[in-house]
């Protein structure tokens, strides 16, 4: 046995290879399809290059401008830091209320979107409504609400509220759809109402995920709220817009630094809180 194995392993290998089927060959049709797909991707990229008026040469031609801009940004001017801090607080306030209202509205909408709780004829239209809230960007909602309630942070709050409700309802309903149905049946078996089934059977199961999602949306809303001001939705974005338009780059730089520090600090705090709930 041992002798025959050591005698000629190469021969044994060859005979084994002879019985193996031929290695697979990619058919020509498949190769053609791949080629067409690659050509399509290139065509889309070329088309969009023209549509987006891409012109890297501008960066090079206007390098002087870029250099000036860079230099100005490198010496931030914190003279008015108290104004910026005040604006940053306003931005945070917009995010807090935008998220809070969205969570309050998102809970019932999220439950009504969940197909294991709500009947289809309710879940379907509510989902489409939430899709619409989500599909439209906060900035667009801000423009709409500015014409309704005027320039300022309240328009920003409303914009965040509507968009975030769409997002939160989706996240919350996905959590509800992943629950264990048994505890809910336990509540149903005692003769509880449908609302009581949700409160005692569903909510305790999804609460940690809901809290985590709400905090995550708060983080993103702080980032969104800094932008809202640019269209007139209040907060630090408004001030930033003014300084940039007035070519006060050192001040704009100071504002950006304050935004970056605040957002990073909040992210760190919020993430550490979220970790406790999952």
């Amino acid at each position: 046995m041992l002798a025959s194995q050591t005698a000629d392993p190469a021969a044994a290998h060859r005979s084994a290879a002879a019985t193996l089927p031929a290695p697979p060959v990619t058919p020509i049709a498949t190769r053609l399809v791949r080629l067409v797909i690659a050509a399509l991707v290139v065509a889309v990229l070329v088309f969009c290059w023209h549509e987006a008026e891409m012109n890297p040469l501008l960066l090079w031609r206007d390098a002087g401008n870029m250099a000036t801009l860079g230099a100005e940004f490198l010496r931030p001017d914190f003279t008015d830091w108290q104004v910026y801090a005040q604006n940053m607080v306003e931005t945070l306030a917009i995010a807090v209320w935008g998220t809070a209202l969205a969570v309050i509205a998102g809970i019932p909408f999220g439950i009504l979107c969940a197909e294991n709780v709500a009947p289809r004829w309710i879940a379907f239209p509510v989902r489409r409504l939430m899709d619409a809230c989500r599909a439209i960007n906060e900035l667009v909602f801000a423009l709409i609400f500015i014409s309704a309630v005027g320039l300022g942070p309240f328009a920003g709050v409303l914009a965040l509220f509507v968009h975030t409700t769409g997002v939160i309802a989706k996240l919350f309903s996905e959590a509800v759809e992943a629950i264990d149905p048994a505890p809910v049946e336990g509540i149903r078996g005692t003769g509880g109402s449908s609302l009581q089934e949700v409160i005692y059977g569903v909510v305790p199961q999804v609460l940690p995920l809901w809290i985590s999602y709400a905090l995550y949306r708060f983080e993103s809303n702080v980032r969104s709220a800094t932008v809202l001001g640019i269209v007139g939705g209040g907060g630090i974005g408004m001030t930033f817009n003014e300084t940039i338009r007035g070519f006060n780059y050192p001040q704009a730089s100071a504002i950006l630094i304050i935004v970056i520090l605040t957002v990073s600090a909040l992210d760190v705090v919020s993430q550490s809180i979220r970790k406790r709930f999952i």
Binding site: A182, P183, E185, G189, T190, G191, S193, L195, Y200
Partner: protein
């Protein structure tokens, strides 16, 4: 007095498979009945239909289910009074069906939801009297000391006794238990069966327990209903259940039901496992 549970020609299909096939039965108030059968014989489906958690097929027989005269379902539709019927039907599940993140106390208090005001129940404003009742029920099943813990911190046997306490607080007159001991170790299983039967005896609660261990059925119950392929194949005194009778009823699949002491030793791992289970209990 109306029967604790009455099924009139109930059929339930899943696709082409008839999980419950034209079953009629009646359980008297205070009666204790074991529902036996191999896995897939329709025991769980029957219990889900009896509690209105599953609906019978439409257009196949009257398919009526009543508990103490209150309709649960008929003709494949839930009765309008199903919530009233559920109030006096306590349910015990194989996987306990407790809300793990809520306290043991809250899980038991949920039992009063059916009979207190809708708003008070929804807001969770249980009064001192109801809390005392809950604690008394927990003491009765022997786990009052764990009242403040989260349900998921308890062992399987303890969780099952929480579910029994919930049925007690509910004031159930009929308890349906679907494989209550199938997920438990032998010692906990015996404890849970003792608790169920004591509860039934002390409070005059009718009890239907589905089991696949025949030794428990004959030890704890006077009446046994045996199911096979969705049909009731035997309904009578537990004393008639013997190894040879089970083999007659179930053929080869009787092996799953018969205790190894009655059955000729078999080399299958499942049988060996059951042998350990039975000797330990």
């Amino acid at each position: 007095m109306a029967a604790a549970l009455e099924l009139d020609r109930v059929t339930k299909s899943y696709g082409a498979m008839r999980a419950v096939d034209d079953v009629s039965l009646s359980i008297a108030p205070g009666e204790r009945v074991a529902l036996i059968g191999a896995s897939g014989s329709g025991k769980s489906t029957l219990i889900r239909i009896a509690s209105g958690l599953a609906l019978a097929d439409r257009g196949v027989g009257p398919a009526a289910v009543r508990s103490f005269g209150v309709p649960v379902q008929a003709g494949g539709r839930l009765a309008g009074e199903v919530r009233r019927a559920r109030r006096h039907i306590g349910l015990v599940f194989q996987q306990f069906a407790l809300v793990g993140r809520l306290s043991v106390m809250t899980n038991v208090l949920v039992g009063v939801l059916g009979r207190i005001g809708r708003l008070r129940g929804t807001l969770g404003l249980f009064n001192a009297d109801e809390r005392r009742t809950a604690l008394a029920a927990l003491a009765e099943v022997g786990i009052a000391v764990h009242a403040g813990k989260k349900a998921r911190q308890l062992s399987g046997g303890q969780q099952q006794r929480v579910a029994i306490a919930r049925a007690l607080v509910q004031g159930a007159k009929l308890v349906l238990a679907d494989e209550p001991i199938a997920s438990l170790d032998p010692k906990s299983a015996k404890r849970v069966m003792d608790t169920l039967v004591t509860m039934s005896r002390d409070h005059g609660i009718a009890l239907v327990v589905s089991l696949h261990q025949v030794d428990y059925a004959t030890a704890y119950f006077d009446r046994v209903i045996a199911m096979n392929a969705g049909r009731v194949v035997f309904d009578g005194p537990a004393s008639r259940i013997t190894a040879s009778f089970l083999t007659e009823l179930y053929g080869a699949s009787a092996e799953e039901l018969i205790l190894p002491s009655q059955f000729q030793p078999s080399a299958t791992p499942a049988a060996t496992e059951r042998a350990g289970l039975v000797s330990a209990s």
